[in-house]
Structures are given as C-alpha cells and as structure tokens.
Amino acid sequence: MKIVIINYGAGNIQSIKFAIKRLGYEAVLSNKADEIRKADKVIFPGVGEASSAIKKLRESGLDDLIPNLKQPVLGICLGMQLMCNRSEEGNTVGLGIFDVDVLRFSKSVKVPQIGWNQISDLKSDLFKGIQEESHIYLVHSFYAPLCSQTIAISNYGLKYSAGLKHDNFYGTQFHPEKSSDIGERILSNFLEL
C-alpha cells in the first residue's frame, strides 16, 4: 500500500510518519501531484495558521489537486479545517470539500484547547471498534460546527465536529498520531478503508 503524507511545509509531520510506521506501514512525504494522485491513501496534515497554510497549498497547486482525489484522504487538525468552505482564521477560503465554515472558539473557554477530550456519536468505519467517550488529543483555537457531515462530536464550551466525512474525504480535528492506542486504531482503520 502506498501512503503519502502531503508535505507543504506546515507543521509536525514527523509524528504522523512515525505513527504509521508503528502500524507496520511506510509513508512517504511528498508535495508532487503525480505521487499524491497515485497513492492508495493520502494524509493531509497541518499545524499553524490557516491563511498562510492555504497560501502554501496554492503556491504548489495542491489546492486544485486535493478536492479531486478519488482515494481515501484524511485531513488532520488544520488539514481538516482547510478542507472546509471557509475559516474565520485569517478570513481564509478553504478547499470546499466539507460544507461548513470554521469558527473561532468564544472567549468563554481557554483558547487554544490543548489536551485530552472525548469523542461521541461516532459514525463511519473510521471509528470501527472505538468506544463512545474515548479520549483523544487536541490542540486548536478554531472549530467546525456540527453539520450533516459530522461523524464525531466533541464538547468544548459547545458541541463541535471532532470528525467530518464527505465521500472519500475524512477529517479529524484531533491528532490520531498523538492519541495513544485510540488514535492508532483510528489511523489503522483509515489505512484499512
């Protein structure tokens, strides 16, 4: 199986590569359209600020490529947010895969949310074998509200989408690569889709 982690200069992708290796697979880092298109599974990571991340995607033409991919694609954290219509962060226009706008957490909660939280209302094979209320690790200041594409819910002052799915596109707000054995199972589920 060929696994590609999209490398567009945003965030700590080493951890994702290692997590995949622990599951017994090898992933390659790439920003080349051909290589990404040929992959069996594509992971779209991201840590950082939305408008500068989308700018990097545009510079390498990946903004056109990603929405047209046919194989399973998993966006993680900022990656998931960039797959949405828009983000309040830097007033960014996203890739429009998930039909929802990303908003900033209100001032009533500590921002960013850093740490462990729980996921519930789990849908889709991505969460096969995962119990409701399982703990996952998150670091984020912006969130995708609940919508028809929500496949996991978390609660931080309000309920929001911890997971999204549209056709072959999946997104997790949390970091499966940092969420211990639960996260490893979710990554493994994705690789076995």
Binding site: N12, V139, H175, K178, S180, D181
Partner: protein, 205 residues
C-alpha cells in the same frame, strides 16, 4: 523525566542523581501504562547537548503515541525549530525566559502558543514565592505570581510549575493552589485531574 547525558536520572532537587534507565524505553512504558503526556528536561551541561537532545526527541517521537514536551538549555528560535522538527510537540523554556522575556513572544509568534511551555521553579522564602533558576540553586528577584502572569500575557500556552520546597506532596499542593489562583494554568489542572484518575502516575514522577 530529568535527562543527563542521554540517560534518565533521579534525585531530589537535582542533587544526588542516580541512573534511572534509558529515556526512550521509559517513555514507551509510561505511554503504554496510560500517561497523558511526557516531559523531558535535559539537565546536562555538555557541548554536545543540543545534538543529543535532538536525537533523543527523534527517538521518543518514533516510539510514543502521546504528546511530549522537551526542555533544558533552550535559548533561541533556532533551538526550538530543531526540536520541533525532530518530533517534539512542545518545548519548555526556563532560565532563558527569565533572562530574556521577549524570547517568549518571539517563540509564540513563530511557532504558536500551543507549543510554548514556560517552566517555573519557585521556592517559598519567608512566606513569599520567589522564582529560582538552575534547579532552585539561584534565586531571582522575580515573584512567582507576577512572573506567571507576565508569562501568560506574553503568550505562553502552558506553565510547568515546580515547587523547590518539596517535589512531592507539597509540590502537588502548591500546583493546586496556583491552579486555583490563576485559572489559566491548563497544565496544572490537567495533571491533577489525571493523577486522581490514575494513581500510578505518581510513581513515575
């Protein structure tokens, strides 16, 4: 975990250190046993420190699936960049922030507050909590609560507080008090909550 020359060491307030094993192996065990986060503080003072710390971070990232923080002698944007690139989730700064508080702002601007932790060691002297450096050996003029507030205002995402009066019971008590006084201390609340849930966590500290 306190790290010296690539090995985990144990002691009380950085005195009478003894070898406690390979940090990567320990990290794997702690991760497997249900720890939420790991913190590595390098207390060695060799010239090769930067390289060995980066290598340690790489090997820990390879093995564990939980977030971890690394600290010890970090004093520049470049130092932080190397550690994050090798797979650390967060870095912790201490003396360098006290000496040059602007460093906190610079790191937050470049990497985001989510990965910048400021470690504060404090000792209570005649009723007043004062910030100390070098494992509690060097007193400073800074008062703990003022410094903590400044650190927060400069954008640090978390504070890692150590009471140098006692690393055990009293230490936890102090963490709790500070946590209640300044509600921003995510790390403090976090640790306490999990420790109650997983009593074994205590043993590893």
């Amino acid at each position: 975990m306190d790290i010296k020359d690539g090995r985990t060491v144990k002691g009380v307030n950085f005195v009478d250190l003894r070898d406690a094993g390979d940090p990567v192996e320990l990290a794997e065990i702690y991760s497997r046993e249900g720890a939420d986060e790991l913190v590595f503080l390098d207390i060695s003072a060799t010239e090769q420190k930067r390289k060995t710390l980066a290598e340690l971070v790489y090997h820990v990232a390879e093995k564990v699936s939980i977030p971890f923080t690394v600290g010890g002698g970090i004093s520049s944007v470049e130092d932080v960049d190397i550690l994050l690139q090798n797979g650390a989730d967060k870095v912790s700064i201490n003396s360098s922030a006290v000496k040059n508080p602007q460093l906190i702002n610079d790191l937050v601007a470049k990497f985001g507050s989510q990965c910048i932790v400021v470690a504060i060691d404090a000792k209570q002297i005649e009723g007043e909590w004062m910030v100390h450096l070098v494992g509690g050996k060097v007193p400073t003029e800074r008062k703990l609560f003022e410094w903590a507030k400044e650190v927060e205002q400069r954008g640090a995402g978390e504070i890692l507080f150590t009471s140098m009066n006692s690393r055990w019971y009293q230490g936890w008590f102090c963490k709790y008090r500070i946590g209640t006084i300044i509600n921003r201390f995510e790390y403090t609340h976090h640790c306490l909550r999990r420790c109650r849930k997983h009593a074994t966590f205590y043993r590893y500290l």
